[in-house]
Structure formats: C-alpha cells, structure tokens
Amino acid sequence: MGLFTELKDSISRVTDRLFAEEEPKRIGIYGPPNAGKTTLANRIARDWTGDAVGAESHIPHETRRARRKENVEIERNGKSVTIDIVDTPGVTTKVDYEEFTDEMDEDDAIRRSREATEGVAEAMHWLREDVDGVIYVLDSAEDPITQVNTMLIGIIESRDLPVLIFANKIDLDEASVKRIEDAFPQHKTVPLSAKEGENMDEVYANIAEYFG
C-alpha cells in the first residue's frame, strides 16, 4: 500500500509539473536614472501583491541593486500574465560622486557612486542574460533623445526582447508624451504617472496584452 501511495504521489508530481502554468516572465524595468522606475515597480507590486519593491528617492541612483518581485499576476480585459518584476538601477555612462555631495557627506557620496557603478553593470548583465521582456521608463518632462536611451533601446532590439515604453510623470506641466512617441515610433508608448497612479488601467491592459 505504501509503495502504491508513493508511486501515485510520484506520478501526480510529474503530471503537475507537466501541466503546470508557464514560468513567470521576467520583465526588466529599465531606463535612465530618476525616470521613476522604482516608483512604477512599487505601484505595480502594491496594486497586485500588496508589497513594495524598494525605496524611492529624488536623488539619482537610489536603486543600486537589481531587485526582483516574484509572481505578480496582472489581469485586465480577460487577459492575464504572471511576471517577475525586475527593478534595475538607472543606466548611465558616467557617475560623478560630486553630484551627491549636496545631499550627503563626501564618504557617503563616494560609496553611493561606487555602488551606482556596480548597479549599472549589474543592470546590463541582467539585460544580456536574464530578462524576457522590458518596460522602458522615461521621464516625459525630459528630452528622450539621449545616448543612453538610444543605446539601450538598440541593445534591447538587438536581443529581440519585447519592449513597452512607459512615458512616466505625465502629471508634470512640462510633460510631452508626443516627444517620446516621435523619438521611438517603432514601439508602443503608454503614458502614465506612477506616482499619482494616473492611467494605470491602460498600463495593466498593455502589460497583460503584450507580455501575456
């Protein structure tokens, strides 16, 4: 009897695995520093799991390690997708610790800049190896045609990763979603304010549709 039960359990485990739902897709949240990536990651995570992902700050490079929030199930308009949100440090080609010395003492600024450089390298590594899709977050109040944006979008395209562009901070007076749409016409642009929670229905509909 014991042997029979063991065999039955074993078969059940195998069939469970065979018919299990797909693995969650790892969706990397990328973009330049201070675009609102962590605010967005926190908004999504709080809306669907009740937990946050990480600390937000107006000082650039607050996120200096990639952080993953697993199994976030998003449903909209009859479509659903389960994703792991990977909140990544803002990508840049330069880091000057003196940028931070107004906000903290020199030792902390140097430590922050060193961690920021490690974080950027980590973000690049995730992009090359470990994400299945990308949400590219831009500050709508800033010029989107920068070298970092051009390069990163190029890198994402070269890896054939699905990408949605999120034009964040539409609550700001200077925001221009059109400027972003014109800069990257080959990709879908979704306007939102992660901070104010504006247009999140469309955000979730697009995530469920595009990554589902």
Binding site: D96, I110, A121, S158
Partner: protein, 133 residues
C-alpha cells in the same frame, strides 16, 4: 591607470587629441580589444571617433567595463554619441538586404565625461563642446 587628462603634464601638447579610427582597423578586433582601445584613449584624455561605431552588444559591454573603471577624482566615465536610430534608413529594402538593423555603421564619438558635452543632438546632427578638462 592613466590620468583622465594630461593638463598636469607641462610637456603635454596644448590641445585635445582626436583619434579617428577607421572601420577597417576595427574589423579584425575582438570586442574587448575594441573596448580597451577606446577606454585607453579616453583615459588619456583623448576624443575617440569611430568610423563605424560598435554593435549593440559591444556598447553594452563598453558600459559595463566603463562602470568598473570609474574612480572618484580620477575617471568619471565616458560621454558617447551616435545618431539616434533612423526608422527610414533601417527599414529600407537596401538597409535590410545589407543587414542595416544589425549594422553599427554609425559614426560614434567617445570622450571623457568631464571633457565633452553634448549641445544638440538629432537624427542628422550631433553638436558637442570639447574642453581640455
């Protein structure tokens, strides 16, 4: 590690060195050889201009290696400029036949972050200010 600028050296030439590197010279080089050549030039305070630029994968590795070499008060990183991707150019039949999407055949300017400042950039023009430090 070489200094980011040569302004402390009394024998250094009074100006900014610009290295224009042909596509032909880059052709036979491995990714890390290209990156080393670029960053060695930038560490010496030079402006490096690549006739044919880098592939997206090489750009990603250039960012990674640059980050590893940033050091407070010595090297703040790089400024790099290429033209933004042009939809018209890349989606043309000829572009596709020639592998236009994969090609990095775009003039690329790279310099020390503290010496080069982009003034204007669009699909057909890059305007930059280069200073000695």
């Amino acid at each position: 590690m070489p200094k980011a600028t040569n302004t402390d050296d009394p024998d250094a030439p009074d100006g900014v060195q610009i290295d224009l590197i042909s596509g032909e010279r880059m052709d036979g080089m491995a990714t890390m050889e290209k990156i080393r050549m670029i960053l060695d030039g930038v560490h010496d305070g030079n402006i490096v201009i690549l006739e044919e630029g880098l592939t997206p994968d090489e750009e990603s590795r250039l960012i990674e290696v640059t980050m590893a070499e940033i050091s407070p008060d010595e090297f703040n990183g790089i400024e790099i400029e290429t033209y933004p991707k042009s939809e018209t150019r890349n989606s043309s039949l000829l572009g596709r036949i020639m592998g236009g999407d994969e090609s990095a055949a775009k003039l690329t300017v790279i310099g020390p972050a503290n010496q080069i400042e982009t003034l204007h950039k669009d699909e057909t023009l890059i305007s930059a200010l280069v200073s000695r430090d």
